[in-house]
């Protein structure tokens, strides 16, 4: 059986806040071209932007670029965001946002939770010092 080759687009993005909007526009256009409905396009856009924002704010390799990889399959879109930053070993343990943090100094902690809520499948590989890869999948169909 011959395996069908998937189309793939790769972006290398400078670690600068002004470029996240470029990724948002790109992924919107890719998902739209694949035929995702408006709500799913919005979910994908929001999730991918959160991953990019984390690569910039937490990856902290200022001179470096981070990579965004779009793999277009028949029934799904896979987006991988990878950085060469400091990594984080507790990334897979993040659960619900702690809204009682109203009393704490630190704001935030929403990004990973938002990604997990909006995408069908999320995998995070992150090791101390060797960067982070976050792989997100959204299916075209309704049964996911």
């Amino acid at each position: 059986m011959s395996k069908k080759n998937n189309d793939e687009i790769k972006l290398s993005i400078p670690n600068k806040p002004e470029y996240v909007s470029v990724v948002r526009l790109t992924v919107t256009s890719i998902a739209n071209r694949m035929g995702f409905d408006i709500e799913k396009i919005e979910d994908i856009k929001v999730a991918v932007a959160e991953a990019c924002t984390n690569a910039i704010t937490h990856g902290k390799n200022e001179e470096d670029n981070f990579l965004v990889d779009f793999i277009m399959e028949e029934d799904k879109l896979v987006v991988n965001v990878s950085d060469n930053g400091r990594g984080c070993t507790t990334l897979n343990e993040i659960k619900n946002p702690d809204l009682d943090h109203l009393n704490h100094e630190k704001e935030g902690g929403l990004g990973i939770f938002i990604i997990r809520s909006l995408m069908d499948n999320v995998q995070i590989i992150s090791n101390h010092g060797s960067g982070t890869i976050i792989s997100m999948t959204k299916y075209m169909g309704e049964d996911h």
Binding site: P17, K45, I56, L99, I114
Partner: protein, 105 residues
């Protein structure tokens, strides 16, 4: 893409009116944070946000709103959001933030 912030203080209602136009993300969130800090320094009153033309807000922007609410809550003041687009409403829902801000309309 960028962010335009329009603000006005209603003396009679003792309320700030803020219109957010465009996108709040990691690039524009600083601008929003500065605006809120100034507003709250000037008058610690309710902030009513017109989100009719707010196309997008990310976790960084939501963090700014949470930070502003924390300061307002010291005086029992609130942040009210109205005319919120469905995609943003969804985000407020899944994060539970719809329970700490007042959402109208």
């Amino acid at each position: 893409m960028s962010l335009i912030i329009e603000k006005y203080y209603y003396e009679e209602k003792k309320q700030w009116s803020v219109s957010l136009i465009g996108e709040v993300d990691i690039y524009t969130a600083g601008q929003l944070k500065e605006t809120f800090i100034k507003l709250i320094e000037e008058k610690k009153e309710d902030i009513k946000i017109n989100a009719e033309e707010l196309d997008y807000i990310d976790s960084t922007g939501l963090g700014v709103l949470i930070g502003a609410l924390k300061r307002l809550k010291q005086e029992n003041k609130d942040i009210i959001l109205f005319n919120v687009k469905p995609s943003i409403k969804k985000l407020l829902n899944i994060t539970g933030l719809d329970k700490i801000f007042i959402i109208e309309g």
